[in-house]
């Protein structure tokens, strides 16, 4: 009988050294049971039967082969059938049983490590199918991430049995297996020849090993449901995977495992967002990427199942509505009081040009439009840079710093004063604008464009919020398109007037309405200042509030002085006041800030991973509230849902331990927990039933008292059953 080496297609197919076979197997089988010896048996027809009986007895006694014991891992070859029949496929597999804290790798090992390799050595006519890799888990190793298995794992493959088994009594299945077993501190390569003898014809199941295969089956990825609509886009350092028409539960949040090591950054959080009837997963591309991939191939976990997906990457699709909105918004910017006077003058001047100047005026208008668009691109660039930083640190990070909160309050306060006409800084900017834009060179036209954008921002920032918010959540290309639309919108009326002079008289006249509008806009800004001071009060207590209010007072004084008098001494006084404001405001920075004086009605346990573990070990149900003082949604949820009488009563009734994970100030423990749920921001509400087998339940970001009570009731019912 000839032996044929069959190499299973695996993730890491580069093998040079062919293993040399010494003594077959690892002492698991009597010599007479191996396929090679069976060949010798052929000549001895009488002896054969008794050998076969011995073989079967040995097999049944061992229910497979004896594991090879190596440091930190046991490896064995197993099958789900006690015997094989001609033409009937069986499943074989390599099983790793790992010591606590050690892991082996998935086909894509992640940042480091390497996948196990299996080289099948099969009798003639037998072939082995591809190794099926159960869905791995994310294993963090310092700042890096591995994809792999801890505990135990079975890598199954189909064994195709030929139609003709001649008159064999048993066949020997062998595999040369290599692996790398690691813990966070070290890695140990291992290698072992494994073998398994299968008798022919007996069809009794092997209960022990059949169960192993039954256990692994739900962990094997299946084809994605027909109903799903999958799409993917790549933009900059981001890959976005959108899955719609999803009926499956979305808790825990979906995770993606790419087949290629060169697709994503394994350690980056995968941010998950709900879409109307599905979800969006934002992945960080492989840091070293040089070419744009054509598809996202890998395994996606949704709920308890995992699915093999291959999604072609489409060029980023740009929806028209936001662009149209941005365009209209840009046009409206023209009529903001900061912009209109400058442009109106300019436009009227152009209208006065004689017909021979018309062509020149048109060219000017185009250059002006370029100036506007260029400055919007500059703004977009800055925003994208901030976003890249924000994505690294988790949204809202800036608001964790009390000095940042104070600075923001001061900025908004100053802007409000400008809008109310107290300060003259805004008008002096416009003055500069006028100076630079005077003249008829292309340079002045370009600068008029830039200045139109610049002077527009102070009185429109609150209004552009929607467009900016949208742009922030989109891939860079879309963000850029939105900003371009805004710029084109801003540039259009001026350009239109130069091209169609008849439009000129139809423009609304500058008038008192502009001043009213401008002053009205101050109040949303002042409301923001109030909110920021409240945030600071939670971060820094009354001392911070006093410091910020004093700084605002000094700023107010400076604004009034510069608005009232234009002389040099006024500027000196204003400068002194502003410096004082900076000094007072800055004083809150280095101080250790007192924790908020909490007067909670529920006794919230402060979060720590160890404490949570402890409660869960005791089998107690736990509700974790991931929150921050600067997170408005969190505050609203707490006031309107969590701290209502109904919810509190229900929690006490069921014995739920309320745990609060406060992210107001940076807390690595909380950040890690958020990342475990694929989040990079608050709010997040997680309900643990206290039963080991129950996955934690993630509540929606917007809570109502009723929805929380319903969740608690369901939990109570589950615990009773």
């Amino acid at each position: 009988m000839t032996m044929r080496r069959h190499r299973a297609p695996i993730a890491n197919p580069t093998r040079l050294g062919r293993p040399e076979w010494g003594v077959l197997g690892t002492g698991s089988l009597e010599p007479g049971c191996s396929a090679q010896s069976a060949h010798g048996c052929l000549a001895q027809r009488v002896a054969r039967l008794s050998v076969a009986v011995l073989c079967l007895a040995a097999l049944v006694a061992r229910a497979g082969a004896t594991p090879v014991v190596t440091p930190h891992v046991q490896v064995e070859l197993v099958t789900d059938a006690a015997a094989i029949a001609a033409g009937h496929d069986v499943t074989i597999g390599v099983r790793f049983v790992l010591e606590d804290g050690w892991h082996v790798y998935w086909r894509n090992p992640g940042d480091s490590g390497t996948a196990p390799s299996i080289e099948w050595i099969l009798p003639a006519g037998f072939t082995a199918g591809e190794v099926q890799w159960p869905t791995p888990t994310r294993i963090a190793v310092g700042p890096l991430m591995n994809f792999g298995y801890s505990g135990a794992v079975l890598l199954p493959a189909t064994l195709h049995v030929p139609r003709d088994l001649a008159s064999r009594l048993a066949v020997g299945i062998r595999a040369q297996v290599k692996w790398l077993v690691c813990n966070p501190d070290e890695c140990i390569p291992g290698e072992a020849p494994l073998s398994l003898a299968l008798p022919v014809g007996m069809a009794a199941g092997l209960p022990g090993t059949t169960q192993l295969f039954d256990e692994v089956r739900p962990r094997l990825p299946v084809t994605a449901p027909q109903a799903w609509r999958l799409s993917a886009t790549a933009a900059g350092d981001t890959l976005t995977l959108v899955v719609l028409s999803v009926a499956e539960p979305l808790t825990p949040p979906p995770l993606f495992f790419p087949y290629s090591r060169e697709a994503i950054e394994p350690a980056a959080p995968q941010s998950f967002a709900l879409e109307r009837n599905g979800f969006r997963l934002t992945l960080q591309r492989w840091r070293q990427w040089t070419t744009t991939p054509t598809s996202i191939d890998g395994v996606l976990t949704v709920g308890a199942r995992s699915y093999a997906i291959a999604v072609p990457i489409a060029a980023p699709r740009i929806r028209v509505e936001p662009l149209a909105l941005a365009f209209v918004g840009g046009m409206l910017l023209n009529f903001m009081p900061c912009v209109f006077p400058v442009l109106a003058l300019k436009a009227l001047a152009l209208l006065g040009l004689a017909s021979e100047g018309r062509r020149r005026a048109r060219r000017h208008a185009v250059v002006y439009a370029l100036g506007v668009v260029a400055s919007f691109w500059g703004l977009a660039g800055a925003l994208l840079a901030v976003r890249a930083g924000g994505a690294q640190l988790g949204w809202g990070f800036q608001l964790q710093s009390p000095i940042f909160v104070a600075g923001l309050a001061a900025l908004f306060f100053w802007m409000a004063l400008t809008l109310l006409g107290v300060s003259s800084i805004g008008t002096s900017i416009m003055g500069v604008g006028n100076k630079l834009t005077v003249g008829d060179g292309y340079r002045s036209a370009f600068f008029t464009g830039i200045l139109a954008t610049l002077v527009a921002t102070p009185c429109t920032a609150p209004f552009m919020g929607t467009a900016l918010g949208y742009a922030l959540a989109q891939p860079p290309v879309v963000s850029l398109a939105v900003f371009t639309s805004l710029g084109l919108g801003l540039a259009l009326p001026y350009v239109a007037v130069t091209f169609v002079p008849a439009l000129g008289p139809r423009l609304p006249r500058p008038g008192p309405w502009m001043e009213t509008l401008k002053q009205l806009l101050a109040f949303p800004l002042l409301a923001t200042v109030v909110w920021l001071i409240w945030v600071a009060s939670l971060q820094g207590g009354s001392a911070a509030v006093l410091a910020i209010l004093t700084a605002l007072l000094l700023l107010g004084f400076a604004a009034w002085v510069t608005g009232r008098w234009a002389g040099g001494w006024a500027q000196v006084a204003a400068t002194v006041a502003v410096a004082g404001a900076l000094l007072v405001g800055g004083s809150i920075a280095p101080k250790a800030i007192q924790p908020p004086g909490a007067s909670e009605t529920l006794t919230w346990e402060p979060y720590s991973a160890a404490r949570l573990e402890e409660f869960l070990r005791q089998g107690r149900p736990v509700f974790v509230d991931f929150t921050a003082a600067w997170c408005v949604t969190c505050q609203v949820n707490e006031r309107l849902a969590l701290e209502t009488a109904a919810v509190m009563a229900k929690m006490r009734e069921i014995g739920v331990v309320p745990v609060r994970a406060d992210w107001t100030r940076p807390n690595p423990d909380v950040t890690r927990a958020l990342q475990q749920f694929g989040r990079d921001g608050v709010p997040l509400y997680v309900l643990y039933s206290g039963r080991q087998d129950d996955p934690p339940r993630i509540l929606p970001q917007l809570l109502t008292s009723e929805s929380v009570v319903t969740e608690l009731e369901q939990l109570g019912t589950r615990r009773r059953t």
Partner: protein, 209 residues
Amino acid sequence: MKVWSRVLVTAAVVAASWFGVPRGFAAGAPRIGAPAPEFTAADLQGHERRLSEFKGKFVVLEWHNQGCPFVKKHYNSGNMQRLQKDLTGQGVVWLTVISSALGKQGYVTPDEETKYLAEKQAAPTDVLLDPDGTLGHLYGAKTTPHMFVIDDHGVLVYDGAIDDKPTTDLADVDGARNYVRAAYEETKAGKPVSVATSAPYGCSVKYKE
């Protein structure tokens, strides 16, 4: 309320861009074709070495951990030493970087490393000790080995694995395509690097927690 908070955060971000607060956040790990980031690190004699002092020369950075089986593959086979001698013989500066934290695998004192170099007959230009992981994080080094090639203009031309056989088998050294050698030779010949990035393979760098 959610929309309002989003508007506020957005406004905060716009304001942040005016303040210039986040400048530098986006400066992540190095990219191919861009200048390699400048660094300062101590060598075995305690001398501060800088990337800029090697201006005008090719520089190879090799992340190293003598306990790692992937590193052993290249040192026990003599593959790494051969490459070190070949390249340094042509004027290339070879810097071996050890980012293992104190108490972690691969952490060495200068004496231990000197002994190791002699025993293995290794020939790097210098060895940089980076137990804080600063240099490792600056370059985004993930594994041992993880190789970087910087050309004589200070531009990063290669970032990735040492070769195309991601195993611990000594037998896989022969016949492997060495990406570092190829990147050096191609750049030297004025040609574009055919494989400028690859997923590095090896043990995780044992960074400080």
